[in-house]
Amino acid sequence: MATRKSDDTPLLEMRGIFKFFGRVQALRGIDFHVDRQEIVGLLGDNGAGKSTLIKTLTGFHTPTRGQIYFEGRPVSIDSPYVARELGIETVYQDLALVPLMSIARNFWLGQEPTKRLGPFRLLDEERMGEEARKALADVGITIRNPHEEVGTMSGGERQSIAIGRAVYFGKKLLILDEPTSALSVGETRKVLEYTRTAKARGMSVIFITHNIGQIHQIADRFTVISHGTKVGDFYKDEVDEEEVANMVMTGEVPERLRLIREEEMMV
């Protein structure tokens, strides 16, 4: 079982998170943390509680019990605005961008640059286009025309733009919810690449997926959850793909890893 590599306070720590929906116990005392500049793969079968955990983090749900610490400070994230203010950006499969709006407008949504025209403030469309293009180019995403509609782009391009946006606005924690499930092989590779770029630029990433092969390529650590509880945290070099897959399916830690954990406990 993984112990922390450094003594720094983690970027995010969730301690003993419980979430009940009426009688349904969605989360039963989960401990979860993300270090700085770390890619964490959050794994679990359908209904394991991944989404509930993430929604607790992004302010769509408030936990029934438990405490969230962000950069060492206790925080209560009770709305998406709070999460956004803290620097947590979530890229959902289909909710990241507005398909009928242009790339530039999507990129700047909610914080558009304006220019003054007498007493009025109008959007500075030229700057919006220019800077969006530049910012995306910095992350490695080349776009043809920043005023093109997002709806005409492929799923991978959309995910890339959402990631590039999060990087540009200096977010601290990026949550990717099943970002590659509808993408082709080539596009998936690109999205994984941008995820690495985001990490290189100082962000931490929570990567939620079913595809263990993919996550194994880029994640530093895996957190496996099952039936609302955490199965365990594992660094990438401790486990191979097959073991992770088994854990996700069965919700049990394999014998070998259990032995390692016991050794650590004895030390």
Binding site: R84, L95, A96, L97, V98, L109, L117, F120, R133
Partner: protein, 834 residues
């Protein structure tokens, strides 16, 4: 062609061929100009054949063909020089020729239909007649199609407006086929009708068709493998316009009805279409905004009823105790404000109900539709009508508002100042932008010369606009209550204006031509290649619009009188300047995008630095000009107006009065605009246009507008980016109700009586207008301009169907079919884009 420019011998012949063709075409066009001036060609009536007696049509044709001739010669010269830009020239000249050919052929056809006693052909009234006509149409299309498949494909190529990517176009482009078929159908039908009629000018028709086919052939050749074509801009604009379907619908309806009934384009019918639908149009603005954010409002009809009722009650009963209307109390204004507050509260209730209960807006507003209607029913009572005249019997006047003349003067001055300040802010930006762009394309020195020209130019246009604004404000002000305007401008002023205009035009042309003059062959970029055609077409466009206005309103210009000619000159110059300036900036942006695409980095020059370095001059000149304008206005007021006595304006006239004035009153009998008395043009039209412009800017150029689109397009994404979705929705409901309230007050002003069912079923009309205009019911997509077109389509159908003699009870059925058709068309457009 590519090879020809690369100086390969194998293609030299084709280059020479097109050089020769362009030379001949140029000669032909110039010949037309000369023949018109010498009187050999007469278009319309001419008292005697002399150069002074040229009528308006002839002027337009002569100037147009002279320009085309020059263009053709320029092309020939460029082709001979193996100058790459002549490729663009070739496209331009052939494209315009093609349109001219079509116009000539059409004029022969239309002329034949008008000359004969049958008048304009009418659509048959009975089912049998209609089906015969439809069979005739279809078969003529079929014949033409089978004979001219290639020709149809050429048309498709020309009118493939929609897709941006040229390579993807060759298979099944909807727009290409639509326009191709549409033009063929219209044309074929007209030919079928015209050839059966005596007096069909066969020579003219053949000339037009010949020119058309000939130019189409050249055009389709020139367009091969090229990047920039004349139709590109229209195409892109249509593609990016949410209202492409509505535009086409409007064209079809106008063409169809104007052919079917000669009363359709009459001032009286246009006036009634506009006046009857302007108030609905104002509500439609609100519905559009709301619909873009993903909701809609069924209760607008009831809100309108309640607002109108509240306005009447506040005015009639709420102020009865206070005494008669007087200047100090301004009760009608207070009543209007209170009524608008009522409207806003109703909108707020709609919005809050929606966001708190999370019930779909269909149900919420369906509920409030009934609830608000009940308010009107309870307060007014069944069968009763609240009438203004019941409260204030005839000796009392309609409500009046008193406005200080000083306030108007201040407004006019502020307007002038505002324009100047805006220009001041814009010029440094444009300066640095254009310098940056050009310095990266060609040699630096030339870049700054051009940039300087552009800066000055934009300033001149702004100043001209400001002057025109001030002038119009003055004229309008002094004639509002028929105060006589004591001074006329002298003959010298008139000549000065003409000289200034000519000088400005020369400067424009020089700036446009300078780069191609500097480098005689090769190396012209797209921006340069575009500058000349855009400049020229800009002028032609505005002249054409002006000519159209003159024609439509039967303006009788009196050029020898300085007052009217000055006014006209200023307006035309201001419009022309603005257009040409905008066109140039667009082309600089194009040039700059090329720089960016190449990958060079463009360093930003801060505006403040620019101002420090060389802006003082601009600031000084602007300030001086602004002061001059202010001084002029103030002097004028002091000399000619009794500035201390307040201006008395009828409130109902302002809100929705009939335009009874003629242009003759405004310009002291110098320009006559004949608006017939029965033409019911009302002020709501002006309010509609103003409000629509404001909301178009709000929706597309402000943060708020952006969030409206985001909320409708993808609620989750908007929320995740920190937009308060609920607040935007509630605000939109309030805005929509506010606009409905304004419409309600305008309705009362037009017809000062309120019955409890006022505005009943309006909501359906308004939603239909919005949907026809291309706004998506599901949100995230739409435009105000589209909705305006939807309003026009709706109104025109109502009037047009009556004029062609269709049973007016059919109206609703037709509207329904049209609405479904419009939505299908819009969806097709969108699918063809992605």
């Amino acid at each position: 062609m590519q090879a020809y420019f690369e100086n390969r011998d194998s293609n030299a012949q084709s280059g020479q061929f097109y050089t020769a063709i362009m030379g001949v075409l140029g000669l032909a066009y110039l010949a037309v100009t000369i023949l018109i001036f010498t009187g050999w060609i007469a278009l319309g009536e001419r008292a005697n054949v002399s150069r002074r007696d040229i009528n308006f049509n002839e002027w337009a044709v002569a100037i147009g063909s002279a320009l085309l001739g020059i263009g053709a010669f320029r092309t020939a010269w460029g082709l001979a020089q193996r100058e790459r830009v002549s490729w663009a020239w070739l496209q331009w000249v052939s494209f315009v020729s093609l349109l001219v050919g079509f116009a000539i052929a059409m004029s022969a056809v239309l002329g034949a239909t008008q000359q004969n006693n049958i008048g304009a052909p009418r659509l048959p009234n009975d089912v049998l007649g209609l089906s015969i006509l439809i069979i005739a149409w279809v078969s003529s299309i079929g014949i033409l199609l089978t004979r001219f498949v290639l020709y149809g494909q050429g048309l498709a190529r020309i009118f493939r407006f929609i897709a941006k990517d040229r390579d993807k176009l060759d298979s099944g482009n909807f727009w290409g086929w639509f326009f191709g078929l549409f033009f063929i159908a219209v044309f074929a039908n007209l030919v079928v009708i015209a050839t059966t009629v005596e007096g069909f000018n066969k020579e003219r028709f053949l000339l037009g068709v010949g020119l058309f086919v000939f130019s189409a052939a050249i055009y389709s050749y020139a367009v091969k493998g090229s990047v920039y074509t004349p139709d590109q801009r229209i195409r892109i604009q249509l593609a990016e316009s949410p209202s492409a379907g509505a535009i086409i619908g409007l064209v079809v309806i106008v063409m169809g009805f104007s052919m079917a009934s000669d009363l359709f384009l009459d001032t009286t019918s246009i006036a009634s279409i506009l006046s009857n639908n302007a108030t609905k149009g104002i509500i439609a603005i609100g519905i559009t905004t709301l619909m873009i954010s993903g909701e809609f409002d069924l209760s607008v009809g009831s809100v309108l009823g309640v607002t109108a009722m509240a306005y009447m009650i506040f005015m009639g009963e709420g102020f009865k105790g206070i005494g008669p209307l007087s200047f100090e109390q301004q009760p009608t204004v207070i009543a209007a404000i209170l009524a608008l507050i009522c409207a806003c509260i109703m909108g707020l209730i709609n919005g809050l109900l929606l966001v708190t209960t999370k019930i779909p807006s269909f149900i919420v507003t369906l509920g409030t539709l009934f609830a608000y209607r009940a308010i009107a029913l309870v307060f007014i009572g069944g069968g009763r009508i609240l009438r203004y005249r019941d409260y204030f019997p005839p000796p009392a006047e309609f409500p009046q508002v008193f406005i200080s003349r000083w306030a108007i003067a201040t407004l006019a001055i502020t307007g002038a100042l505002f324009i100047l300040v805006t220009a001041l802010q814009a010029i440094p930006q444009y300066w640095s932008r254009s310098v940056r762009a050009w310095s990266h394309i060609k040699d630096r020195e030339m870049g700054s010369v051009i940039a300087l020209g552009v800066s000055i130019w934009s300033f001149i246009s702004a100043a001209t606009l400001a002057t025109a604004f001030a002038w119009l404000a003055l004229v309008a002000y002094f004639h509002l209550d028929r105060v006589h305007f004591g001074k006329t401008l002298g003959q010298a002023d008139f000549w000065l204006a003409i000289i200034l205009g000519l000088a400005a035009a020369a400067v424009i042309t020089a700036i446009n031509l300078y780069p191609s003059w500097r480098k005689k062959s090769g190396g012209l970029n797209a921006g340069e290649a575009y500058s000349i055609p855009t400049g020229v077409t800009g002028w032609i466009l505005w002249i054409a619009i002006f000519a159209l206005i003159v024609k439509v309103y039967d303006l009788r210009l009196n050029l020898s009188n300085p007052d009217s000619s000055m006014l006209i000159l200023i307006v035309v110059a201001a419009l022309g300047f603005t257009h040409v300036t905008l066109a140039t900036f667009r082309q600089y942006r194009l040039a700059r995008q090329q720089v960016v695409a190449v990958g060079e980095r463009v360093e930003a020059v801060p505006v403040s630095q620019y101002l420090r370095e060389r802006g003082y001059l601009t600031v000084g000149v602007s300030a001086a000009l602004a002061l001059l304008i202010v001084a002029l206005i103030v002097t004028a007021y002091q000399r000619f107006g009794n500035i201390d006595s307040p201006l008395k304006v009828g409130f109902f006239d302002v809100a929705n009065g009939q335009w009874r004035f003629t242009m003759a009153q405004v310009t002291r009998g110098l320009v006559h605009v004949n608006i017939p008395d029965q033409a019911n043009l009302r002020n709501a039209i002006a309010w509609w246009v103003i409000l629509a412009s404001i909301f178009q800017v709000i929706l597309f150029r402000t943060r708020y507008g952006n969030s409206v689109f985001a909320v409708g397009g993808n609620r989750g994404a908007a929320r995740a980016q920190g937009i308060n979705v609920n607040r935007v929705k509630v605000q939109n409901f309030v805005l929509c109700s506010f606009l409905t309230g304004l419409a309600g007050i305008m309705e009362v002003a037009r017809n000062p009586g309120v019955d409890p069912l006022k505005g009943n079923t309006w909501e359906l009309d308004v939603i239909a207008m919005t949907v026809i205009g291309g706004t998506l019911l599901t949100g995230g997509y739409g435009s105000i301009i589209g909705t305006m077109l939807g309003v026009l389509i709706f109104g025109m159908l109502g009037t047009g169907l009556v004029l062609v003699g269709m049973d007016s009870r059919m109206f609703q059925g037709v509207i329904g079919v049209i609405m479904i058709g419009a939505v299908v068309l819009n969806n097709t457009v969108k699918r063809s884009r992605s």
